[in-house]
Symmetry: C2
Subunit: 191 residues, 2 copies
């Protein structure tokens, strides 16, 4: 018997995405976003949802571009900070000692020290309520060579991405490998 | 120095969401979706992205409602199967022995055996390309009582949700607790 918990956002887990933008004066900023994910394979798209009062909201509307980083375990403190402080008040790069790099293909910066980044141009703006969803077309994915496996794909164990359980405000690491997608379920196809 | 991997969908990890629908004849169906997540806090919204040719696409367009389950580790084989087979050809509930339950508040079924489900009414349809994003307003969250912690929130360790790394098609479990969100980063605020 299920009990009702009311109308709440309770998908668990959610990603910890760090979004890079230039403000209207060209100053680089980063913000951490938990509402987001991939939303289309072709064109490849990623969505992030921001509140209107965030400084990054303004910057994305202005520059029509952003970057998205997956947070590696080693930079979790910095990513948490990026979600607490506002780029309106502080220079988050200066505060953390991280290095902004100008995107090659879009008008947004990325963090040199993060192993993995997507360069995105703004494709759609979807107004939802408290949050506005920005859908970005992924123009390029950039990765440190050291984290790639022998097939040229980022190695999950080297990236060590973190996830967030928002309701209890806890970050978690990656667990054990459970099986192959599109393989495990095949045994049920025969039925 | 970062190297370019091209325009690809590479946010890792992604959730493993099982979407429940009724088809035009009222037959319950489920499909597994990896492109999706929370996109607004108020109204609470979840998005899922489906290809147009899926059977669930048709059903959502018809019924304007769907449910979203987080996949627990114990039902991963079934969830993988839900992403392989099509409801156009088979009855996935019959094939897995799982039980469809009529949603209380929306015109969509949920899986009795899954511990946790969101009942959603279709709010927006965003055409993107290969995938169409369906944004659902979460009308209610339903949970088995056994998985709730003492504060009434689903206990992540009891739910044991899985995540997927699409590029290497591997499912992973949850790892160790890494720290508190909106707390860890505070030490950088003083700088």
């Amino acid at each position: 018997m299920k009990i009702s918990l009311g109308a709440k956002t309770m998908v668990l887990p959610v990603p910890v995405l760090v979004v890079g933008t230039y403000d209207k004066n060209g100053r680089p900023n980063v913000m951490t976003v938990a509402w987001g994910g991939i939303c289309c394979s072709s064109p490849p798209c990623v969505d992030i949802a921001l509140r209107r009062e965030t400084y990054s909201y303004e910057s994305i509307m202005h520059r029509k571009a952003f970057t998205v980083h997956v947070t590696p375990e080693g930079y979790l403190t910095e990513a948490d900070y990026f979600g607490i402080a506002s780029g309106r008040d502080v220079d988050k790069f200066a505060a953390t000692g991280l290095t902004p790099v100008k995107g090659d293909l879009v008008d947004a910066p990325y963090i040199k020290e993060f192993p993995f980044v997507m360069e995105c141009r703004l494709l759609k703006v979807v107004e939802l309520g408290l949050h506005t969803q920005f859908i970005g077309e992924i123009i390029d994915v950039k990765s440190d060579e050291e984290i790639l496996d022998e097939t040229g794909v980022p190695d999950i164990e080297k990236v060590s991405p973190v996830v967030l359980v928002p309701q209890i405000r806890n970050y978690y690491g990656f667990g054990k490998k459970l099986g192959k997608a599109f393989v495990m379920g095949k045994k049920l196809c025969a039925k």
